[in-house]
Symmetry: C2
Subunit: 419 residues, 2 copies
C-alpha cells in the first residue's frame, strides 16, 4: 500500500505526517486550553472541535472532552480503528466533508504540544542486546557482559511516571550522591556524566486484570501505539546507587517522549521479526508473528549556539525483545497493567560504533571522546540540546514521530535554595 | 499526654482506635458506595455524611465527596490539623454535638474497608539494617553483606502501584520464571518460595516540584501518615531476575496495606531517633530531630483451619533511615513526588532470630524451617493467612493500625486459561 493522498497538500510530500500516519497528540494555541488532535502534514486536525461540532462521534460518548488520550485509549481497539477510518475519510482527497473539516485545521508551527496522555506507571526495559553487551562489558568485563537471565526474560525495572515530560521541556542537570574510587566517602554534587538513552516507548491502551497474565498476542492488542523516548541517565549517580536494587535517582530526573503517539495500525506495513534466538525462549514469551518494526532512528546533538551533529543512527529492529513480549512478561506475576502505562524499550544500539544509543557507549565510558561540531563530547555539556528522530520508510511516504528534544540546562547552584 | 476520653465508650479501653488516634479510612456498608471515615473504638465516624450535613466543613470546599483521602491530603497540613481538632472535639467526652454526630457512627464490624487512597506511585526501600545484613549474607556472603552504598543512602527501587491492595484481599501465588542451579535452562512455574516482608508505609500527602529537591525537614511535612505494609515477595523469581536492574515481577503480585492511615500527629508522642551512624551521613540526608517512631510490630501466620502462631515481633525503631530521610533522598535528582505516593520502609527485622520480618530470614533461606502451630514453615504454604499488626503504646492507650492481612490462595492451574 502506498501513500494515501489527502486534500491537505503538505501531507502528500516529504512529511512525517502523511494521511497514512495520523498520530495522536495534545496541543493548544495561545490562550487556549489543551485539546486532542492528530497531525496531518503541516497541520493538526482538532478532534475536540470536530467532536463538539458533531462531525465525529462515538457510541461510547465523548472521548475528546479531556486534554489527554486516555479516554480514547480506554474505549478499545474497535474504536481506535473506527477513529482512524473516520478521520482518514474526512481528510482524504475528494472528501465531501472538506468544507466542514478545514476550519478545524491548526498550523502545527503555531501550536504548543503537551504530554499526549496521563502516564499511569512507567517501566523501562533493557532489551537491546548491543547496548546490554556494551554496558555489561564496561561495568563487569567482556566475560560477564550479558547477565545469565538476559537471553531468557526481558529484564526491566519500574521507573518514575512523574519524571515523564514532553519534547521541548528543558532538563536540568541533576544533583546526586556519587563516589569516585579515589575517595573514601561519597559526595553530593551535580552529575558530571549526564547522558541520554535512545529508546522507543510503547503506550498501553487497554488494562489487564490483576492476578492474570496475558499472552504475547493479547499483549500486542493492548498496545495503543508508540513514541520516541529519551531515558535521561546520570551515569555517576547510577554507578554508586544501582547495587543491589537497580537504578533509582539516576533515572528520575526526566524522561522525554515525543509529542505524537503513532498508532499501531500506522506501523503495520513495517513489521519485522526479532533476531534469531541464541537460546530458545520459554513458550509463554515466544512471538507468534513479527512484532518489531523497521523504524530508522537517529540522535542529534547541538551545542549552545552551534550546529547539530548526528551522533548515532540505528534502527528499532535491533531489539532482542518486542514490546508485546515485554508487556506479556510484565504480567506473568499477575501484575495489573493499566491504560496509560508506558514501557521503554531499552536503549537501541547497533553493532557499529556510530549506531550506539547513549553517550556512555559512544565515548566508551568517557575514555574515547567523540567529535561533534565545534569540539568533542564524553557526556552531555550544559546547554547541549539532544534530539531523537525516527521514521518508518515506505517507497513514497514515511511514518514519522516528530522530534523528541530536550536542552540540558545547568544544575541548580544550591539545590535547596529557591530563586 | 494520656488518653483523651470520648463519649464513644469503646474508644476508652483496650482499643487500637482511641480518640488520640483518629485514623483515616474508606468504608462501605452493604449496598452503599464507599465513603471516607475515621475509626473510633468499635465504630467508624462517617465523614462524608458529617460533611454533607454541614457538621464539618472546610474553606477548601468538600474534601469527602470522593471515596479516597487524596483530596483531603492535597488540602495540606493546616487542614489536616483542623480536621483532627474538629473531629476530636465532636467525639470528646462532654461534646455538645453528640446528638448530631451519633447517627453517623457505623459499627466497624459491619463495614467493608477499601483502599484509603488512590496510590499514585509506589517506592520500596531497603532501610532495615538487620534485614539487609541477613539477606546480603545469604545472597553474597557475610563479608559482602552490606553493599558499599548502604550506610550512605537509603537504597530503594520503584515498585508497582497497581499491585497495592487493602488488607483482607486474597493473594494468589504467582507464576514466574525461575532457574535452579542444577538446571541449564529456566522454567516457568508457580513460585515455591513465596514470602512476606513486614514494613511500614509512609503516605505522601503533599507534592514536590519537579526539578527541586526537598530537605529532610520539608519531607517530613509532606508525609500525611503511616500504614502497615506487606511487600509480598517471590524469592525464587527474585533470585533469577534481580541482576542487574533490581526486583521486578517478584514484587509485583501484590502489596497489602492496612486499611487505616494513622496521621503523623497521632504518632507525635512516640518519636525516636534512628540508630547511631556508623559512617556520617552527608548533611542533606541528616535528621534535624528524631523522625522514627516506637511502633511495636508482629506477624501472625495461620494455616488453613489452624491456630495462629506469632512468628516475629519487632519494632519500627529498628530502621536505619526514617521515611523523611527516604523521601528527601527520593527528590535529590529533581524527581517530583505527588499526593498519594506510597513509600515502603523496607523490611523491619530485629537482631534476635524471632524478630525477623520475612520467612526468608526466619528460615534462613529455607535451610532452618521454623515451628508453627501444627507443623513447620520455610516459606508460605497455600491457604496460609499472614497478618501484620502494629501499635505505638503509651501508658493508658495505644495507637493501632488495624490488621494488614492476606490469605495466599493456590496458583492458577494454567495462568493463560480463565475459569
Amino acid at each position: 500500500m502506498g501513500l494515501i493522498r489527502s486534500w491537505v497538500a503538505s501531507a502528500n510530500d516529504d512529511t512525517d505526517f502523511p494521511l497514512n500516519n495520523l498520530p495522536c497528540g495534545v496541543f493548544s494555541l495561545q490562550n487556549q486550553e489543551p485539546r486532542c488532535g492528530m497531525a496531518i502534514g503541516d497541520f493538526i486536525v482538532d478532534l475536540t472541535a470536530l467532536e463538539e461540532d458533531g462531525i465525529i462521534g462515538f457510541a461510547e460518548g465523548p472521548l475528546f472532552d479531556v486534554p489527554f488520550w486516555n479516554e480514547a485509549m480506554e474505549a478499545g481497539p474497535a474504536v481506535w480503528a473506527e477513529l482512524r477510518a473516520t478521520v482518514s475519510g474526512l481528510l482524504a482527497e475528494g472528501s465531501s466533508q472538506r468544507a466542514q473539516v478545514e476550519p478545524h485545521l491548526v498550523p502545527r508551527a503555531k501550536a504548543a504540544l503537551h504530554l499526549p496522555f496521563l502516564v499511569a506507571e512507567y517501566t523501562d526495559f533493557y532489551a537491546g542486546r548491543n547496548h546490554a553487551v556494551n554496558v555489561g562489558t564496561m561495568f563487569r568485563g567482556a566475560e560477564n557482559a550479558l547477565p545469565p537471565n538476559w537471553l531468557h526474560i526481558p529484564i526491566g525495572y519500574n521507573g518514575r511516571a512523574s519524571s515523564v515530560v514532553v519534547s521541548g521541556t528543558d532538563v536540568r542537570r541533576p544533583w546526586g550522591q556519587v563516589k569516585s574510587p579515589e575517595h573514601d566517602l561519597p559526595a553530593f554534587q551535580p552529575s558530571r556524566r549526564f547522558d541520554i538513552e535512545l529508546e522507543m516507548g510503547a503506550v498501553v491502551g487497554q488494562a489487564s486484570d490483576h492476578g492474570y497474565p496475558v499472552t504475547v498476542a493479547e499483549a500486542e492488542e493492548m498496545i495503543f501505539g508508540y513514541v520516541l523516548l529519551n531515558d535521561w541517565s546520570a551515569r555517576d549517580i547510577q554507578a554508586w546507587e544501582y547495587q543491589p536494587l537497580g537504578p533509582f535517582q539516576a533515572k528520575a530526573t526526566a524522561t522525554t517522549i515525543s509529542p505524537w503517539i503513532v498508532m499501531r495500525a500506522a506501523l503495520e506495513p513495517f513489521r519485522v521479526s526479532t533476531p534469531a534466538r541464541e537460546k530458545p525462549l520459554l513458550p509463554h514469551l515466544a512471538e507468534p508473528k513479527p512484532m518489531l518494526y523497521n523504524i530508522e532512528l537517529e540522535v542529534g546533538l547541538t551545542p549552545a549556539g552551534g550546529a547539530e551533529t548526528v551522533i548515532a543512527r540505528t534502527n528499532y529492529a535491533e531489539m532482542y525483545y518486542s514490546a508485546p513480549q515485554q508487556l506479556a512478561h510484565h504480567t506473568t506475576s499477575g501484575c495489573a497493567m493499566n491504560v496509560g502505562d508506558l514501557l521503554g524499550s531499552g536503549t537501541i544500539s547497533g553493532l557499529a560504533k556510530d549506531s550506539r544509543g547513549s553517550l556512555l557507549e559512544l565515548s566508551w565510558g568517557g575514555k574515547e571522546p567523540f567529535a561533534v561540531a565545534g569540539g568533542t563530547r564524553s557526556f552531555i555539556e550544559d546547554n547541549d540540546t539532544l534530539v531523537l528522530r525516527g521514521a518508518a520508510r515506505a517507497e513514497d511516504y514515511r511514518i514519522g514521530f516528530g522530534e523528541c528534544a530536550g536542552k540540558v540546562i545547568p544544575a541548580l547552584a544550591d539545590p535547596y535554595k529557591r530563586n
